[in-house]
């Protein structure tokens, strides 16, 4: 034990752990106050408001420059996502209908649903 107490690496670890604990506790106290909540939300509100204003201005600028706006790119992304989703559905359907020769496991029969709990078989299970 005394070795540990004198070991500078161990002392450093203990100090780090204590610092973490202490700082977290202190921060928790501060963040639990009403003032913290009020100030944080004032800042968040201002930031969200500014973000929206800048976004609106940028949208108008892009339209004026004949460039695709964010909304248009988002809509483009949505269409791609929808296509991707449909492809996944088709893939799942194909896997189901035809099985998959490349080790997708669906062509192999499912194991029987007959497993009993260890208590019923008098000990450890089969897997």
């Amino acid at each position: 034990m005394s070795d540990k107490a004198n070991d500078p690496v161990q002392v450093w670890h203990t100090m780090l752990a204590e610092m973490e604990k202490g700082f977290n506790a202190m921060a928790t106290q501060v963040m639990g106050t009403e003032q913290f909540s009020r100030v944080t939300h004032q800042l968040t509100g201002a930031s969200v408001g500014a973000q929206k204003t800048v976004g609106d201005l940028m949208e108008r600028y892009l339209v004026a420059m004949n460039l695709p706006s964010r909304a248009q790119m988002v809509s483009f992304g949505e269409r791609l996502n929808a296509i991707e989703g449909q492809l996944n559905e088709i893939k799942a359907l194909l896997n189901r209908v035809h099985g998959d020769a490349q080790d997708n496991g669906l062509s192999t029969p499912k194991p029987p649903r007959t497993k009993q709990p260890p208590s019923a078989t008098g000990g450890g299970g089969s897997a």
Partner: protein
């Protein structure tokens, strides 16, 4: 006097010498491994073989390919929390909860989430509880050929499963397992303060941003323990010579950073109904006009909670057992935190075997 002093001092000097040598070696290893760390990617996660059997926007339903010769009759659906990816339950082989379940003979499905698209900002609580979960249950029934389905809900996935179970108390859910599921949202003290209704204008936020960005979700989680991120980076540097430590760090860090945005309307309901009005606890919650009364749930329930959970403190989770209508209900309190309860070395020893023994008895 001299002889004993020098005799006792000698081993100390040798130990100090060894310590210095070991620290020098580690310092060299740190430099080498540090370069490797930045030059390589982390281990592949979520690689247990699976098939996507249903996909609808933000929702994916996986079926994991069985790994036992014989499986339990009742399939198992895991409902993941909407803020995080499901691969926390499928880390790497040997540390994967999913793999563990498959090898124990469970037929495992997972309802996992991807980032909601901008057009999914209007998804409501109803879409999750009355749409996604019932759709997945139906698909599991169809795929497995079984009418009964067991459900595990992790964190907010547990809340969604409870809401579903209380609205559909007559089945097909046969047994329910909740991991660290909050019921009394007043007891999530810091989240309460972050969403203080006097200052937090949730309508303005949702109306402005649509889906709530993942950075906001992540920073609210990190603010619960603000020093821990910096300390974990220091610890990583200290242990960067240790491949196992680095592997584990990378797995958990990648998952933690991979937080998902939340659909705006859904977030609005969580804030107003749960954080502000605590409706689930007060028995006044309703989803799409259906009363979600926990006392209606009569299926056997296991609730696993973590002793040192800083995200869902025990006080926020402890009332589930009292509120649920089941007669067969068990709460287990295990050492660990919100994530280490379900994944990592401690979960392998603590939660997984407990869950296996509880669920195997109820899966035939």
């Amino acid at each position: 006097m001299n002889a004993p002093t020098s005799a006792s001092a000698l081993p100390d000097l040798a130990a100090v010498g060894e310590r210095i040598q070991s620290e020098v070696q580690r310092a060299i290893q740190r430099s080498i491994k540090g370069v490797e760390y930045f030059a390589s990617s982390g281990p592949a996660l979520g690689s247990t073989p699976k098939d996507i059997i249903l996909s609808k926007g933000t929702m994916n339903l996986y079926h994991y390919r069985p790994q036992a010769d014989e499986i339990y009759r009742i399939p198992l659906l895991i409902v993941m929390a909407t803020t995080n990816r499901g691969y926390i339950l499928d880390l790497v082989p040997g540390q994967s909860f999913i793999e563990f379940l498959l090898k124990k003979g469970f037929d495992v499905y997972m309802l996992d989430w991807t980032a909601p698209r901008p057009d999914e900002k209007s998804l409501r609580m109803e879409d999750y509880v009355l749409g996604f979960i019932p759709d997945c249950i139906r698909k599991v029934q169809e795929d497995s050929g079984e009418a009964d389905v067991n459900v595990i809900g992790y964190c907010f996935g547990g809340v969604l499963s409870l809401l579903y179970g209380s609205i559909f108390p007559d089945g097909p859910m046969k047994n329910l397992v909740c991991f660290t599921t909050p019921i009394d949202f007043r007891e999530m003290k810091l989240f309460q303060n972050f969403s203080d209704r006097r200052y937090f204008d949730v309508d303005r936020l949702v109306d402005s941003v649509g889906n709530v960005p993942p950075e906001m979700i992540l920073s609210s989680f990190e603010m619960l323990r603000p020093a821990s991120r910096a300390v974990s980076q220091i610890q990583l540097w200290e242990n960067i010579w240790n491949d196992e430590y680095v592997k584990s760090f990378r797995m958990f860090d990648r998952w933690a950073q991979d937080t998902l945005p939340l659909a705006g309307e859904y977030f609005r309901t969580i804030t107003k109904d749960l954080m502000w009005d605590n409706k689930l606890f007060n028995d006044t919650m309703s989803v799409g006009g259906h009363a979600a009364d926990l006392s209606k749930i009569k299926v056997p329930l296991l609730h696993a909670v973590a002793e040192h959970d800083h995200i869902v403190p025990y006080d926020a989770a402890k009332h589930l057992i009292a509120k649920i209508g089941s007669t067969d209900k068990t709460e287990v309190i295990l050492k660990g935190g919100h994530v280490s309860l379900v994944a990592g070395a401690n979960a392998i020893k603590r939660l997984w075997p407990k869950l296996d023994s509880w669920l195997s008895e109820r899966s035939t």
